[in-house]
C-alpha cells in the first residue's frame, strides 16, 4: 500500500515536478520575451491550482514577503504588549491577582476563531488579519515574561530596591535583564505561533500571502473546493519551513547576544 501511494505523482510528486513548480512560482517561464511574445512557448501550467495562481500573478517570493510582513507586524505589536502585561503581572501581586484569571480565560480562546467577529466590527480590511496575529503573539509572550519577572527577577529587585533603585532604572537595569533568558525562550515560541496564525488567517480571509497560495486563491467560502496541486503545496510548505527556521535562528542568535550576561 505504501509503495503504491509513493509511486502516485498526485500523492507525492517526483522531485523534478517540485523543481518545476518552484521555478514556475518564482515567475520564471511566463515572462514575456524580447518581441513581446512568451519566451517559453511550451510552457503550460501543470494544474488548476498553478493556473489560478499564475493568472492572479502570484509569486512565491511575493507571497512570502506579504506573510513575513504580517508576521513582523504581529511580532512588533504583540511582543511589547505581551511583555507589558507580563511585567505588570510579574511585578505587582495585586495586578496579578486581578488580571491572571482574565488572562487565562482570554488565552483559551483561539485567536483565529474570532476572526469573523473582528471582521464584523472593522469591516473587510487588513486589520482583521493582523489582530489575531498580534493577539496570538502577545498571549504567548505574557507567561515567560511573567515568570522571568516574578521568579528570577524577584531577588534582584529586592536587592536593588534596598540600594535605592526604583522606577525606570529598576525596570531597565534589573527586571528586564533578569527576565531576559526566559523571554528569549518565549520569543522563539511566539515567532512560531506568529507564523502559524498568519498562515491560518491568510487561508481564511486574505487575497494574498502564503496561506492564500497554499489553498490556491478564491474566496474563503469556496476554499479547498478546487483540485489542489500537491507540488505547489509542498513547495509552499518547504518555503514556510525555511522562512520560519531563518527567523528562529535570527532570534536565537540575537537573544544569545542580548542575554550574554546570564552565562
Amino acid at each position: 500500500m505504501a509503495a503504491r501511494l509513493l509511486s502516485r505523482p498526485d500523492i507525492l510528486p517526483p522531485a523534478e515536478e517540485l523543481a518545476e513548480a518552484f521555478s514556475a512560482l518564482l515567475g520564471r517561464g511566463v515572462q514575456l520575451g524580447p518581441g513581446g511574445e512568451h519566451a517559453h512557448h511550451h510552457h503550460h501550467p501543470s494544474s488548476a491550482q498553478m493556473e489560478t495562481l499564475l493568472q492572479e500573478g502570484v509569486t512565491l517570493q511575493g507571497a512570502l514577503a506579504v506573510t513575513t510582513g504580517r508576521v513582523l507586524f504581529g511580532l512588533g505589536a504583540g511582543i511589547p504588549l505581551g511583555i507589558l502585561i507580563g511585567i505588570l503581572m510579574g511585578a505587582s501581586r495585586r495586578a496579578d491577582d486581578y488580571l491572571h484569571p482574565i488572562y487565562i480565560l482570554a488565552r483559551s480562546v483561539p485567536p483565529l476563531a474570532f476572526i469573523t467577529y473582528i471582521m464584523l466590527w472593522l469591516g473587510h480590511s487588513e486589520a482583521h488579519r493582523l489582530i489575531p496575529i498580534v493577539y496570538a503573539v502577545a498571549v504567548t509572550m505574557v507567561i515567560p515574561t511573567y515568570h522571568g519577572a516574578r521568579d528570577v527577577a524577584g531577588k534582584y529587585v529586592e536587592a536593588a530596591r534596598a540600594l535605592g533603585a526604583r522606577g525606570r532604572l529598576l525596570l531597565l537595569k534589573v527586571v528586564l535583564p533578569a527576565a531576559g533568558p526566559a523571554m528569549v525562550g518565549g520569543l522563539r515560541y511566539s515567532v512560531a505561533i506568529g507564523w502559524m496564525t498568519a498562515v491560518g488567517a491568510e487561508m481564511l480571509m486574505a487575497e494574498n500571502g502564503m496561506g492564500n497560495l497554499l489553498v490556491g486563491g478564491g474566496m474563503w467560502s469556496s476554499r479547498l473546493q478546487t483540485r489542489s496541486d500537491p507540488a505547489v503545496i509542498i513547495v509552499g510548505i518547504m518555503s514556510l519551513a525555511a522562512a520560519g527556521w531563518a527567523m528562529d535562528t535570527g532570534v536565537k542568535v540575537a537573544g544569545a547576544r542580548l542575554t550574554r550576561w546570564a552565562r
Binding site: 484569571p101 483559551s108 483561539p110 467577529y117 469591516g123 498562515v199 496561506g211 497554499l214 489542489s228 519551513a241
Partner: protein, 268 residues
Amino acid sequence: MMTWVRARRAVIGLVGCVTLYVLAAEVGHGRLPERIWLGAHYVENVKLLPTWRALVEEGAFLIESNILVDSIAVSTRRVVLGLLLGSVAGILLGLLTGSASRLEALAEPWVTFFRFTPALALLPLYVVWFGYGESSKVLLIATNVAVITFLGAHQGVRGVPRVYLDAAASLGADGQLRFRKVILPAAFPSIFSSVRVAAGLAWVTIVVAELINAQMPSLGYLLALAGAYPRVPTMLIGLATVGALVLIFDLLALLLHAWATRWMERAA
C-alpha cells in the same frame, strides 16, 4: 488568609469584565450600526454586542436543538484521537532518539522541517492525501502533537543527569531497569509539559481546520455558519465553548502532569 484575598480579587476581576460587557451591550443596544458593509455586500440586522437576554435565548436554542452538544462531541473526538495518536508516536520516537544518538542524526532533519512548518500549512496537503473526511483532520492534529511531544520526550531523556545513570549502573541495574526506573520518571516533567502545550495547540488547529474546511457539524463549522449569516450570539457562544474546552483540556493536562511527577518534591 492570603488565598482569600486572591480569590476575592479574582472574582472581582472576572465579575468586573462581565459587568462591563453587559453594560456595553445595554448602552450599545440600538446605537451600534446594524447594517454592515462587508467588502462585497451589506449584511442587515447585525447585533454587534448581543444583550445577555439574546445570549441566553441563543444558548438555550443551541442546547435544546442538540447542535452545540453534537458540535462539541465531533470536535472533541477529533482532538482526543489526534492527541492520543500524536503523543504516543511522538513520545515513543523521542524516547528512542533520546537514548540512541545514531537514530537522532537520522531523525534530526525531519524534526527540524516539521518544527518550522506552521501547523495549519499541512491542512491543504492532508486534504489532498487523505480526503475531506475525519482522517485528514485527526492526522493534522496528530502530526502537530507528535512534533511537540517528540521534542519534549527527547529533551527529557537528554536532560537526565549522568550521575543518576551511573549511580543506578553501579548499583547493578541493567539497561531495562535503568530505563524504567530512572530515565522514564526523570523525563516525565518534560514529556507531560509538552503534552500540555500540545493539547492547547490541538484545539487551535482543529477549530481553524474546521473553519477553513467547514463541512461536518463541528465547533469550527458552527463558527463558520455563524460568520456567514452573520449571527453574533451563536458566534460568541461558540467562542466561549471553545475557550471552555481549551481550559478543561489544559486542566486535565495539568492534573496528568501532577500525577506523573508526584514523586518529585514540590517547592510550594
